[in-house]
C-alpha cells in the first residue's frame, strides 16, 4: 500500500482535486460565516459614511482573479448603492474595463433607480499605472477628458464640477497586484488623507497589513473575507437573502473548504511516507 503512495502518479492527485472540487460546486454547499473584526471594520467604513457620499471604486484586476475578487467588487457595489453613494469607477488595468461592467450590471438590474451620470460614472482605463493616480489626485480632466463611452466629463452632471479625487469621501480598491491597493495608498490615500479600504487576493493581502489602520481602514483578503463580508451585508440588509447573486463568495467557500482539506490530507500522507522511508533507511 505504502509503495503505491510512494510512487503515486501526480495525475491521481489532479483527479482527486477535480472530483472533490466538482462535488462541492455541484452540491452548492454553503457554510455559516462569522465575520472577523477586520471585515466588520471595512463594512463599517462604508456604512458609516453619510448617505450620498462620493466613493471612488478602483477595480484593478483581470479575469484571472475574477473568481476571487468579483464577489468583493459586487458586495461593495451593493452596499454603496444601498447607501445611495455616488460611485466613480476607474481601473488601472486594461482588462479591468469589463470587470467594471460586471458591477455596473448589478446597478442596472438591482438598483434601477440608479442613473448613469447622476449616481455613477465609469471612467474606464488609462495607461500609466501610478502616473494615472498622481494625475487624478491633482487634475482629473487633464487625463480623463471623457468617460469610458466617450462622453465629455463636462457633459456628465456627476463629473462636471469634479476637479480631482481629493474630495472623495472614500477610496475602495479591489486589486490583484500592481498597480493596485499599494499604489492607491501611496499616491492617493496617504498624501491627501482620503479614507481607503481594499479587497485583494489571498497572496496580495499580507503585504498590505502594515498600512492598517492609519493608511487603510481595513482589507478583505481572499474569498473567505469576501464571504464574511457578504454575511455582514446580509445581516444588515436581510432583503438580499433572496438574491442568490449576492451570495457568490459564500457559494465558493464550499470548494475552498474541500480543497484545503484535501491539501492537508495530502501533506499528512506525504509526511507519513517520508517518515516511513526514513525509518526504513535507519533500520537498514
Amino acid at each position: 500500500m505504502l509503495a503505491f503512495f510512494e510512487n503515486l502518479d501526480r495525475r491521481w492527485i489532479f483527479l482527486l482535486m477535480f472530483l472533490v472540487v466538482a462535488a462541492a460546486i455541484l452540491t452548492q454547499v454553503k457554510f455559516p460565516e462569522k465575520p472577523s473584526p477586520m471585515v466588520r471594520n471595512v463594512f463599517r467604513t462604508i456604512e458609516d459614511l453619510p448617505d450620498g457620499s462620493s466613493v471612488l471604486l478602483a477595480l484593478d484586476y483581470d479575469p484571472a482573479s475574477e473568481g476571487e475578487l468579483q464577489p468583493m467588487a459586487s458586495a461593495f457595489t451593493r452596499q454603496c448603492a444601498k447607501k445611495k453613494h455616488k460611485l466613480f469607477y476607474i481601473t488601472l488595468w486594461a482588462p479591468g474595463v469589463p470587470m467594471i461592467q460586471r458591477s455596473i450590471e448589478i446597478l442596472k438590474s438591482e438598483f434601477q433607480e440608479y442613473r448613469y451620470g447622476q449616481d455613477y460614472v465609469n471612467l474606464g482605463y488609462r495607461t500609466g499605472g501610478e502616473g494615472v493616480i498622481k494625475l487624478v489626485t491633482s487634475d482629473l480632466k487633464r487625463l480623463y477628458a471623457n468617460d469610458v463611452a466617450g462622453t465629455n466629463l463636462d457633459d456628465i452632471p456627476l463629473t462636471r464640477n469634479l476637479k480631482n479625487i481629493q474630495k472623495m469621501d472614500l477610496i475602495v480598491n479591489v486589486g490583484a497586484g500592481s498597480p493596485g491597493s499599494k499604489e492607491w495608498v501611496q499616491y492617493a490615500a496617504t498624501p491627501y488623507n482620503i479614507q481607503m479600504v481594499a479587497g485583494t487576493t489571498g497572496v496580495g493581502a499580507p503585504p498590505l497589513y502594515p498600512y492598517i489602520p492609519n493608511q487603510l481602514a481595513g482589507i478583505l483578503g481572499a474569498i473567505k473575507a469576501a464571504s464574511e463580508y457578504e454575511q455582514t451585508l446580509l445581516e444588515r440588509y436581510p432583503e438580499l437573502n433572496e438574491n442568490e447573486k449576492a451570495q457568490e463568495a459564500k457559494r465558493r467557500m464550499g470548494p475552498q473548504l474541500v480543497a484545503h482539506m484535501l491539501m492537508i490530507g495530502l501533506i499528512i500522507l506525504g509526511n507519513v511516507i517520508h517518515f516511513s522511508q526514513r525509518r526504513r533507511e535507519i533500520s537498514q
Binding site: F18, S36, P63, G67, A222, H260, M263, I267, L269, G270
Partner: protein, 231 residues
C-alpha cells in the same frame, strides 16, 4: 551623445518629481511631467507590439523550436487588434448614430467583446484555477517535515489552511472564552497575520524603501547607467 541625452532626461525628470512632491508651488511641474509620462506610456504600447511581432515572426521564419506557439501568438494579437480597432460588429452609439465607429469597442455582441467573454476570460480563469492542481501535487511531494524550519512552516500552513475555512471554526469553537485566542481563525488572523506577517512585511517594506532611495539616487546622479543598456 546617445547616452548623455537619456541620462539628462532621467535626471531632470526624476529630480523635478522629487521637488514637486516636497514643494507645493512646484506641484504643477510634476503634474506636467506625469502627463508626458502617460502619453509616452501610451506610445510604449506601439513599441511593445512592434517588439512582440518582430520576435515571434523571426521565430516563425527561422522555424525555431516552438514556432507554432509564436504563430498562434501573432495570429491572436493581430485578430484582437483588428477586432478592437475596426470595432467589428459594434453598432454606432445612440448619441452619434451616423458615425459608424462611434460605438464602444466592448459593446455587448461585438467581435472584441465576444472574444474577451468566451476566449480570454475562460482561458485566464483556467490558467489561474490550474494552480490548485499543481499546489496539491507539490504539497504532497515537497511539504515534508525535514527540519525545524520545515516543521514551523508546516504548522503555520495547517493553521492558515484550516483557519481560512469553516473547518477551523468547527474544530476549535468549543474552546472557552479565556482560550479563545487559540481558536484557529483567531490564530490565523490575530497571531500569524497581525504579528508575524505584519512584522516581517514591515521590515521588508522598510528595506525595499531604503533600497529604492539608494538605487534611485544612483540612477538620477548617473552612477548607475545599466538601464540604458550596453554601448
Amino acid at each position: 551623445m546617445r547616452r548623455t541625452i537619456p541620462l539628462l532626461i532621467s535626471s531632470i525628470t526624476g529630480f523635478l518629481l522629487i521637488v514637486a512632491f516636497f514643494i507645493p508651488y512646484t506641484e504643477s511641474w510634476g503634474n506636467e511631467v506625469m502627463n508626458w509620462f502617460d502619453i509616452v506610456a501610451a506610445f510604449a504600447f506601439v513599441l511593445g507590439a512592434g517588439s512582440l511581432l518582430k520576435m515571434h515572426l523571426r521565430k516563425v521564419s527561422d522555424r525555431r523550436a516552438g514556432w507554432g506557439y509564436s504563430a498562434v501568438t501573432v495570429l491572436a494579437f493581430l485578430m484582437m487588434l483588428g477586432m478592437g480597432l475596426g470595432k467589428v460588429g459594434v453598432p454606432p452609439s445612440e448619441k452619434f448614430p451616423n458615425h459608424p465607429f462611434s460605438g464602444h469597442y466592448l459593446h455587448e455582441g461585438g467581435a472584441f467583446w465576444w472574444i474577451f467573454q468566451y476566449l480570454f476570460l475562460p482561458l485566464s480563469a483556467t490558467m489561474f484555477a490550474m494552480l490548485a492542481f499543481y499546489i496539491a501535487s507539490a504539497a504532497f511531494r515537497a511539504f515534508r517535515a525535514k527540519n525545524t524550519e520545515a516543521i514551523i512552516l508546516l504548522i503555520t500552513a495547517f493553521i492558515v489552511l484550516l483557519g481560512r475555512t469553516y473547518a477551523g471554526e468547527v474544530l476549535t469553537d468549543w474552546l472557552p472564552e479565556s482560550l479563545a485566542f487559540l481558536r484557529l481563525e483567531r490564530l490565523t488572523e490575530d497571531t500569524i497575520m497581525n504579528v508575524f506577517n505584519l512584522a516581517g512585511n514591515r521590515a521588508i517594506m522598510i528595506g525595499i524603501g531604503l533600497g529604492i532611495v539608494s538605487t534611485s539616487l544612483k540612477v538620477l546622479l548617473g552612477v548607475d547607467r545599466s538601464y540604458l543598456g550596453s554601448e
